[in-house]
Symmetry: C2
Subunit: 112 residues, 2 copies
C-alpha cells in the first residue's frame, strides 16, 4: 500500500535518529515507527533494514541485547558511545542535505 519513493542513502541515518530518540528499539519496531510517523507514506523494507542494522553493529555504532517476549525473539539495538556521536553528525548532515534539496525543488525562474 505504500507508494512513496524511499529516499536512498537515508536508512542508516533514520535508524540512528530513531535510536537517538528512543534509546532502545528492535528492528520490527523501527519499521512500525516509521509507518506511524509518516502515516504509511514511508515504509522501511525489512530486507533493507536488517542488513543495515548488522552493518551498524559491525561498524561499532550499535550494540544489541536479545530477549524473548511472549515466546518470540526480540533483538534490541541501542547506540554505542561512538554511535551516539556519529548519530548527531549524520542527522545534522542529512538535515542540511534536505534543506539543499528543498531549495532546488522549490526554486523557479521568478524567485531564482
Amino acid at each position: 500500500m505504500e507508494q512513496n519513493t524511499f529516499i536512498k542513502g537515508s536508512l542508516t541515518t533514520i535508524v540512528l535518529k530513531l535510536l537517538n530518540d528512543n534509546g532502545r528499539m528492535y528492528g520490527y519496531e523501527m519499521t512500525k515507527a516509521v509507518r506511524v510517523l509518516t502515516a504509511d507514506k514511508m515504509d522501511i523494507a525489512e530486507a533493507a533494514l536488517y542488513p543495515a542494522l548488522h552493518k551498524l553493529v559491525k561498524d561499532g555504532l550499535l550494540e544489541t541485547t536479545s530477549e524473548v517476549v511472549d515466546g518470540r525473539m526480540r533483538k534490541y539495538y541501542s547506540l554505542t558511545r561512538k554511535g551516539n556521536k556519529e548519530s548527531k553528525s549524520k542527522i545534522e548532515a542529512l538535515k542540511e542535505s534536505l534543506q539543499s534539496l528543498h531549495i532546488i525543488l522549490n526554486s523557479n525562474l521568478s524567485n531564482g
Copy 2:
C-alpha cells in the same frame, strides 16, 4: 570543498526540475546551477551526472541539441513531452518523500 552528503536517488529528479525551470541546459551548467542554488553545499559529480543524462535520453524524457560555443562543444538538454509530464510527478513524489524524512528527523520523545 563540498562536504554535504549527496542525497542518493534524487539526481534524476534534480535534473528534471532544473530543465523544467530553465527549459534548456547543458550538463556542466547544471553542476554550476546546483552549486549556486545551494551555496556550494551540494555538488553534483560529473561522473554521476553524465550517465544519468544519457539514461534520461534513452528513456525518452530528454532530447539533445549540440552547439559549439567559443570553440567548445555544448550539449543542450531539454524535456520531451513525456519528460515534461514525468518531471512534474517525480518532483511531487520527491517533495513528499522529503516531507516524510523531515518528519522523522525532527520528531522526538516530547512531541510524539
